[in-house]
Each structure stands twice: as structure tokens, then as C-alpha cells.
């Protein structure tokens, strides 16, 4: 009888061990950024009042918000050629965009881009409002 119980105990222990084997559960989380890569103007519109024969300067700032891919923006450029002469005595000149501290490391991270702008008005300019509009384009 003792032998029977001993054998039974060994069987129970062995069965318990065999029943309690490892199992792995996998969870995949997909992270999406709320925005795609976005460029926003921080200085628009710029509306200086300039007397004929004078000039005005400003610094334009754009903010580029990342899409979380850590991929850098490949090209920054304008869709207009500068200096831009409107033919009525006003010239808008703009240097190339200067990239700020690039910390493009995840969703909503951003970088500032700046450029110096100069408006020159010659003596023959017509009075009133002269309008310019152009895009800063980020290619990635």
C-alpha cells in the first residue's frame, strides 16, 4: 500500500510539472504620429510700411514638425526665385533657409528654420500695398 501511494505521489508531481510549461504572449504596438511632417509659418504675414527709397528687414521663421520616422528633411527650398522684383519698384530678397538645432527624433519633435528677408523700395515705386507670397517647401 505504501508503495502504491509513493508511486501515486511521484506520478502527481511529474504530471504537475508537465502541465505547467511556458507560453509566450506577443503584443505589437504601432505608434502613429498625430501629424505628418508639417511646415508652418511663424512670421506670416509680414506687413512693413516702407517709404520710397528706403528698405526694411525681417527674419522669417518656419517650424517643421516631424512625423516620427527619424528621417531627415532632404531639401528645403522656395518656390520663387530671389531677389523677386515685382516690376513696380519693390524688390523682396531672401537668403537660403538656415536650419536651426536639428533634434528630429520622434513624433511632434520640431526644428526651426530661419531666413533673413529684405524689402527694398526704389524712388520710382508706386504707392500702396505690394503683395508677395511664396512657399517654403520641405522635401523628405
Amino acid at each position: 500500500m505504501k508503495k502504491f501511494f509513493a508511486i501515486l505521489a511521484v506520478l502527481v508531481l511529474f504530471g504537475t510539472y508537465a502541465w505547467a510549461g511556458d507560453a509566450t504572449q506577443t503584443v505589437n504596438v504601432t505608434v502613429t504620429c498625430s501629424d505628418q511632417l508639417v511646415v508652418t509659418c511663424q512670421s506670416s504675414p509680414w506687413e512693413p510700411s516702407v517709404a520710397a527709397g528706403a528698405s526694411a528687414t525681417s527674419t522669417f521663421t518656419w517650424n517643421i514638425t516631424g512625423d516620427g520616422t527619424n528621417n531627415p528633411v532632404l531639401v528645403l527650398g522656395y518656390n520663387k526665385v530671389f531677389p523677386w522684383d515685382d516690376g513696380n519698384g519693390v524688390i523682396l530678397d531672401l537668403n537660403d533657409p538656415v536650419q536651426g538645432d536639428w533634434r528630429y527624433e520622434g513624433c511632434n519633435d520640431n526644428v526651426s528654420v530661419t531666413a533673413e528677408a529684405t524689402v527694398t523700395v526704389d524712388l520710382h515705386a508706386t504707392s500702396g500695398v505690394h503683395t508677395f507670397a511664396f512657399d517654403l517647401t520641405a522635401t523628405y
Binding site: 509659418c41 516702407v50 508706386t126 500702396g128 512657399d135 520641405a138 522635401t139
Partner: protein, 178 residues
């Protein structure tokens, strides 16, 4: 075989072109241009020190000068012609109406405007208080200008005008309307 190689190269080229996306933001610039000299008008002739000349009392108009009383218009940059108003135009002056009533000196004159870079343009039937327009040189930008002239060519004095009266002074004033 050659065709296949070309197709393979073409496919490789196509595959190697990266797929690029673009995003942009628009910067607007509105420049308000003002003309420093807008609406200005000022005399350019040497009057009142200019002397028309000396005439004999009595008779019809005698030839004097000619003298041009001249005003300069500054453009306001609108490309529109400027308008002026003959505020004061003394065609006859009685220098001492109390002691010598009826004794006066009259001038013969004509108004002209400088018309858009061309020769002077005669202003027909001018009158005091009348409003006239003048086109400006150089297209009407901030550095454009124009001139108004009063050309005096004759003068006459009444028959008993006293010779000790001294020079008779005529005054002319114009103003910018617009």
C-alpha cells in the same frame, strides 16, 4: 538580349528613384509703400523778387517779361493725375484803394501744366477757384513730378496811376485738391 539588358537597366533606374513627399507653408509679405513727397507742391519760381518790368500808365496791355510763376508737383505714387486748385489769382491789383480808388494795374497771363513729359499744355478758360489736373512725368511713381506755370506776358496801368506807388505786388496761390 540587348533589349532585355536595356529593360533591366531601365527597371533599375526606376527602382532607384526615391519616393519623395513634399510639404510646404506659404509666407505672405505685404509691403505698404509710402511716398515721402506725396501731396507736396511748392513754388519754384523766383517770385516775388522777380520784376515784371516797367510800363507806362494808360493805354492797352504792354509787353512785359515774359515771366513764369512756377509750382512743382510731387507725385503721390498712385499713377493718377494730380489735381490742383487755383486758390488765388490776382489779375488786377489796386494798391491803395483808399487814397487812389479806381487806380489799378492789370496783368495778362495764361496757365499751363506740364503734361506727362511733353511740352507745356495750355489750360483753357482758367478761373480762380477752378480745379484742373496735371499728368506727371516718369509714369507717376513716387519720384514723379509735374509743373504748373502762370506765364505773364503783359501788363497795363490805369491812366492816372500814381508813379510814386512803387512796385505793385501780385499774389498767386494754388493748392493740391487730391
Amino acid at each position: 538580349m540587348k533589349k532585355k539588358i536595356i529593360m533591366l537597366i531601365a527597371m533599375m533606374v526606376i527602382i532607384s528613384i526615391p519616393v519623395l513627399s513634399q510639404t510646404q507653408a506659404t509666407q505672405n509679405v505685404n509691403v505698404n509703400v509710402t511716398c515721402p513727397g506725396s501731396s507736396q507742391m511748392y513754388p519754384e519760381s523766383v517770385l516775388p523778387s522777380e520784376n515784371l518790368g516797367t510800363i507806362q500808365a494808360g493805354g492797352d496791355f504792354q509787353e512785359v517779361g515774359p515771366v513764369e510763376v512756377k509750382w512743382r508737383f510731387e507725385g503721390d505714387g498712385t499713377n493718377n493725375p494730380r489735381q490742383f486748385n487755383i486758390v488765388l489769382w490776382q489779375q488786377a491789383v489796386e494798391p491803395d484803394p483808399i487814397n487812389y480808388p479806381q487806380e489799378k494795374v492789370e496783368i495778362q497771363s495764361q496757365w499751363y501744366a506740364d503734361g506727362n513729359g511733353t511740352s507745356k499744355e495750355l489750360i483753357n478758360s482758367p478761373e480762380q477757384g477752378g480745379k484742373y489736373q496735371v499728368y506727371l512725368n516718369e509714369g507717376g511713381g513716387c519720384d514723379s513730378w509735374g509743373y504748373i506755370y502762370l506765364q505773364i506776358t503783359g501788363a497795363k496801368a490805369t491812366e492816372h496811376f500814381p508813379s510814386n506807388m512803387g512796385p505793385v505786388v501780385f499774389r498767386f496761390t494754388i493748392d493740391v485738391v487730391d
